[in-house]
């Protein structure tokens, strides 16, 4: 299967969806490997690549973009609803 997400940095624990992935859809990784999307991952949004415990850093670009608010399961959508952020957006 053609990858439907992109991992920007090898240290990242989230990937970016290259298409709308429906709930229960398959997330196919660029280097091989796949898992199930636990909820809908909209085009250009982030999906968790591993389980992320509350308070743990979410990495994209190899850098911290925020901290998990609650348990983020592998395959979950990662966005403002489950991230705490320095410099809150609107």
């Amino acid at each position: 299967m053609k990858p439907n997400v992109i991992i920007i940095n090898t240290q990242d624990n989230v990937a970016v969806a290259l298409e709308d992935i429906p709930e229960g859809g398959i997330v196919t990784l660029p280097g091989g490997g796949e898992f199930t999307a636990l909820e809908r991952i909209p085009y250009s949004h982030k999906v968790a690549l591993t389980d992320i415990k509350p308070g743990m850093a979410v990495h994209k670009y190899g850098e911290t973009i925020g901290y998990a608010l609650g348990d983020i399961k592998k395959g979950a959508w990662v966005h403002t609803h489950n991230l705490t952020i320095d410099g809150v957006m609107v």
Partner: protein
């Protein structure tokens, strides 16, 4: 392809031009007509028309430096400075600063020469001589390290930070490793990344400067816009999947690759440092590119998601699109499609493509913005209103 050398014009100060223009620089908007007359009459000249030069106090030093810096840019073989005579920016000061490069430079004041036409006649005579001399210059083999590449992004979308900017980041690392210079700018697009960028600073002083310029950018945005500031900091990006300011800014700054940051240079100045440098400048593309030009960039790499056709008068600008959709929609304006990453092409492969094209463009091939004559007019940065 041979990549450690390029073909350029050697200037008297040892800098390397990749274009060979005679710049006609009005020091004030009142001199634009004369500069334009010279530009239309003499092929090979580039009039740098702009709307500034008077009615200000705080920015006069910076704008003088910027105009002089553009005249000193290695892509310029010689310069003619046209002043009115009573403006705040001194034509003589701009000309004498350019003269430090030992390139030919002359200045004329409209009020001294007896009006527009008489000034234009003199300017045209000088311009013809400069273009004639420049046309005899030959490109010679020069080390790649003589190249300074400016980075720009405009009209970003959700994939700018996923495809185009990371690919350009690899190009930045390549040029820095080759001994060249890469300049990152657009302070407003660094907001939220102080701690990341300052960690990469070569010295603690450089780190403090980085923190300071980003703080200033954030404060200024909030002072001017109040509650609307967050819209500027994050213009509708949440729908595109951006969850924090850091995330958005990281997508912007990743075009500067991963190498240490050797210095911070003020707008209008040329950095003394090689390697990766930050230019303290605004996020507005056109003013940002003027700063990059004054800092000595011979080439600008410009990533875009929404699609901007903008170029710069004396500098080839290479456009990199973030998606194939944009590339196909605006093929006339986009040089490289980094959107291919979304179809499975590696970032490394796109970076190779940008490097190959950059070498070609350095050696004389025209970028799309050059072909479209999208140089536009010069936009100079000013932080305060005119009076």
């Amino acid at each position: 392809m041979k990549r450690d050398t390029v073909q350029g014009y050697v200037r008297p100060d040892g800098s390397i031009g990749i274009r060979n223009y005679v710049a006609v620089i009005p020091t004030v908007a009142c001199a634009n007509g004369v500069a334009d007359m010279i530009g239309r009459e003499v092929k090979g000249t580039v009039p740098l028309l702009h709307g500034h030069g008077c009615g200000r106090a705080l920015e006069i030093g910076m704008q003088t430096n910027t105009l002089a810096g553009l005249g000193k840019n290695p892509n310029v073989s010689g310069a003619i400075v046209i002043g009115l005579g009573c403006e705040t920016i001194s034509a003589e000061a701009v000309a004498s600063e350019i003269a430090k490069t030992l390139k030919p430079v002359e200045f004329f004041l409209i009020q001294n020469e007896g009006g527009s036409r008489k000034t234009a006649v003199k300017g045209i005579r000088s311009a013809k001589k400069m273009v004639d001399d420049a046309s005899g210059m030959k490109r010679v083999e020069c080390p790649l390290e003589s190249i300074t590449m400016g980075l720009e992004c405009g009209g970003s979308d959700a994939f700018s930070g996923v495809t185009a900017n990371p690919a350009v980041g690899l190009v930045s690392d390549w040029l820095v490793d080759a001994g060249g210079t890469v300049i990152l700018t657009e302070n407003t697009e660094m907001i939220g990344t102080s701690h990341i960028l300052s960690k990469r600073a070569k010295t603690p002083e450089v780190g403090q400067r980085i923190v300071q310029i980003i703080e200033t950018a954030e404060k200024r945005t909030k002072d001017i816009l109040g509650p609307l500031a967050s819209y500027v900091i994050a213009p509708g990006n949440m729908d595109g999947g951006m969850s924090s300011i850091q995330e958005k800014s990281l997508g912007c700054i990743c075009k500067a690759g991963s190498r240490p940051i050797n210095g911070v240079v003020e707008y209008g100045r040329n950095p003394n440092d090689k390697g990766l440098v930050i230019l303290d400048g605004p996020g507005y593309d056109m003013e940002s590119m003027a700063g990059l030009g004054a800092a000595g960039c011979q080439l600008i790499i410009f990533t875009t998601g929404r699609g901007t056709p903008a170029g710069f008068p004396i500098i080839p600008v290479i456009k990199v699109s973030s998606t194939t959709r944009l590339f196909l929609a605006m093929e006339d304006d986009i040089d490289v499609n980094a959107g291919a990453v979304l179809e499975g092409v590696t970032l490394e492969r796109i970076a190779e493509e940008i490097i190959d094209l950059s070498i070609d463009v350095i050696n004389g091939r025209k970028s799309k913005a050059e072909l479209n004559r999208q140089g536009g007019i010069l936009c100079l940065y000013a932080a305060t209103p005119a009076f």
